[in-house]
């Protein structure tokens, strides 16, 4: 499978990153190579194989509904560039 330049642009838009014309070509090549590598799986007959949803053979890993006090919010804010009145402050996004 080959990834087109338009698809690279679309992926860049979804990821909110700007890329140059040069990079578009470079990434198109790299992404195509990744997909082609994964396409090898199509050569295997999986007719009687159940789909795999998780790589480990485990399920039902739960915790009980018991409260643990949250850390002081100032600890969270230590990682935020701007905060105000107990809120994180960010540019508005429409």
């Amino acid at each position: 499978m080959v990834i087109s330049l338009q698809e690279v642009e679309h992926i860049a838009m979804l990821a909110r990153i700007n890329i140059t014309e040069e990079e578009k070509k470079e990434f198109a090549g790299q992404l195509s190579a990744v997909l082609q590598y994964a396409e090898k799986l199509n050569e295997i007959n999986t007719e009687d194989v159940d789909p795999l949803y998780h790589i480990l053979p485990i399920y039902n890993v739960f915790r009980e509904d018991e409260i643990i006090e949250s850390p002081d919010r100032n600890e969270l804010f230590a990682n935020a560039p701007v905060f105000q009145d107990g809120y994180f402050k960010v540019p508005k996004i429409l």
Binding site: H10, L14, R16, Y53, H54, I55, L56, I58, Y59, N60, V61, F62, R63, E64, D65, E66, I67, I68, S70, P71, R73, L76, F77, N79, Q84, D85, G86, Y87, F88, K89, V90, P91, K92, I93, L94
Partner: protein, 482 residues
Amino acid sequence: MSTEFETVVGLEVHVELKTDTKIFCSCKTAFGAEPNSQVCPICSGFPGMLPVLNKKVVEYAIKSGLAINAEIAPYCKFDRKNYFYPDLPNAYQISQFYLPICTDGYLDINVEGTKKRIRITRAHMEEDAGKLVHEGTIMTTSYSLVDLNRTGVPLLEIVSEPDLRSSQEARAYLEKLRSMLLFAQVSDAKMEEGSIRCDANVSVRPLGDKNLGVRVEIKNLNSFKALEKAIEYEAKRQMEAIEDGEPLIQETRTWDEEKSITRSMRTKEEAHDYRYYPDPDLPPIKIDQEWIDSIRQTMPEMPDKAQERLMGKYGLPEYDAALITVSPYNLKFFDQCVALYPDAKTVSNWMMGELSRLLNQNSQEIEQCHIKPEMLADMLKLINDGTISGKMAKSVFEEMFKTGKSAGHIVKEQGMIQISDEDTLRKIIQEIVEQNPGVVEDYKNGKEKAKGFFVGQVMKATKGQANPGAVNKVLSDFLSKE
């Protein structure tokens, strides 16, 4: 020539499950806490965090599934829904896309006596996003303030088939769904607190057409009224566009409560591309029959069963039984009151009449108001033993509603004891008759109305405290002797 159109509606309802802690971490879920006071590295998306599923969320989701008559999947799992927004610190929402926990349910609704079955496509577990606060409006400000308390609060999203044909049916469905979730005790389902939220998919088509029209999704429906008004507005807008030959586009619109209109938010071309993929942090969930059965045993009596009981055991009309089973709080009130005062129809009349009138007038809920079931029962006993008349009871009831004082207390405090003693009444009547000789003449000349005049005067003289039956009897004796 004008075409006749049909409105087609499907609802997506988000319900907050009332667990103590969040879906993937142990932070509290209390409503109205200080901003960012219920947040930890997991729900704020710190690198290296590992979400672990709250077992109660699965139990509540199974319970909800049983309440909406759904199939519970023997195997389900979580996926990541990818998008960027400041209220979503992970830049993905953990949800169930490919294998939801519940499928193929239904609810029966009743609109003006017509019963209808509304199919439910699916219900899936997911985490809520945070809340953005703006000074002024989002249009006038340049930044957003982020509160992550709500991030990670467990939600169940319940998606109906496009089986609804009017705003009334949509409302009836949402009311029924809310009632089922309240009875199942999985959610507070308070629209005003956002613990139940609704989006509507609306399209129109010429009546009889089998294909669905172009669909518009409406967001920001925060009340039953908004849901009804938005569907009506949107259906009309679409019908007019078709009649005028204007093309409709698939889009998301928002309900503008102030202007009572829907406004375009984004079109299909700008629609999100969520790139769902399995969340490797969360192992899948297996649910066996034994687990489902054990949860089924914890299910309380649901509204349909309760309605049958009220009609069968107490002989209540279907109308009364339906209204009492609208919420578990109403039903509990009724059951507790009837246990103390077994005349079920009288209890039902007071609940549907005075109580519901006062609740509406004061925008209160039955579970929070001053009147408790035992207080209504005590008051009904006072009517029954003749201490107060039905008319006096109405003002006693209002006072109880206002102050929370018992009926006995109010009656004593205001000297409201009903006057049934015949000698006392005779004295009062004697006086009135003496003051109104002309009216007595009228009565003797066959004017029955004259008697009504005397009854009115007695009531006035006793401030409504005379026992109407006793007044009639004494008055008849009196006038026949005159």
